[in-house]
Symmetry: C2
């Protein structure tokens, strides 16, 4: 297996997210033609329609076939499963439209929970009352109880999550589009933008005999 | 001051909530006529229009005038202020369309935060993905990490709040329409449906010389 011609791809509902070993880039699902790719592509996909198309392309290899799905749960997304495979010990916060929080202990997935993403939660407060229509203050001091509305909702969103996450006393890994924002709150966390790609590489390595 | 002819009233946006010393009952703001009441009524109101009307009725006494508002914050509702005056030490969870959580230490308001109410948060998850359109499971075991979607959102909503609230290590008082549901989570909490009325009585007692 030559690294130079290997592509990794994480397929979502709106885009193909590629990693060529050096750089990552995205292509829209609307106009990208997977049959135009000549290299071997190792992929995972939460997009059922695209997964079906790719079954007919020999050089697109679905890495989800190399996962023991019994260790997870039925409705758990393959991207989330792969994220948890990237580390042996820790708590992964994947901050996107939802915030998924997964615990891994000695290589074993212990379970996880789902918290609303930033935009979803801001809308929630706004819908409860126009008086709560603020952006979250990520600089809010979470060591003191708030005495104004903006901090009262920022604390309500962020400190509750923080208190729960640190109670696990595990190394924290941040990933996803809002990782940098959450780094203000989880200051000791490590940001890893390539968690899923690293995990894909790991799965490929573990299954080298079957894949080559 | 004779207890027998004293009425307490907590006025919201939709109703007058009365307490006659024995029972409590509600009247709609749409058709209730405050000038038909002959007894003395001690009230608080978050309803600005009604507050204005009541200024002209001698037997309706606004208890918000007996509160030192500098101890709170400008946009804090008078009902929330009164709730915090009911106790000297503890954390009050008022579970309604929003969940307000306020800390009182040695009679002093330390601050508080706002968390979405049950309905608002369920809608939030549903809007993120139809796959998350569940009711919360209040029987969910919060001591183990979830491995199914319903528990993953239930834990995300409830355990985060729980972890934050218990970190204050204070007696917990539950009030508001969803107090009974939250009692499943905060099993050591005390439910107090009459927190605001008790607080009103306390303020009346403290200001007896001015009021009689």
């Amino acid at each position: 297996m030559e690294d130079s011609i290997m592509l990794l791809c994480d397929i979502g509902n709106t885009s193909y997210h590629f990693f060529d070993g050096l750089n990552d880039y995205k292509k829209s699902v609307d106009d990208f033609r997977p049959d135009a790719v000549k290299e071997t592509v190792y992929f995972i996909s939460v997009n059922a329609a695209i997964s079906q198309t790719l079954e007919h392309l020999k050089n697109w290899i679905d890495l989800s076939n190399f996962i023991d799905k019994d260790r997870y749960y039925e409705t758990m997304g393959i991207d989330r499963i792969f994220a948890t495979r990237a580390i042996d010990n820790g708590i992964i916060i994947d901050a996107g439209s939802a915030v998924t929080v997964d615990v891994i202990n000695k290589g074993k997935f212990m379970g996880g929970f789902i918290y609303p993403g930033i935009n979803a939660m801001q809308k929630t407060y706004e819908n409860i009352s126009p008086a709560l229509a603020y952006s979250f203050n990520f600089e809010c001091d979470l060591d003191i109880m708030p005495k104004n509305s903006q901090d009262a909702i920022s604390y309500g969103y962020l400190k509750t999550l923080y208190s729960e996450v640190i109670s696990h006393n595990l190394p924290i890994i941040l990933t996803g589009g809002d990782a940098v924002k959450f780094k203000h709150i989880f200051q000791d966390a490590k940001i890893d933008d390539r968690l899923i790609f690293n995990s894909m590489k790991k799965i490929i390595k573990e299954n080298e005999d079957k894949l080559c």
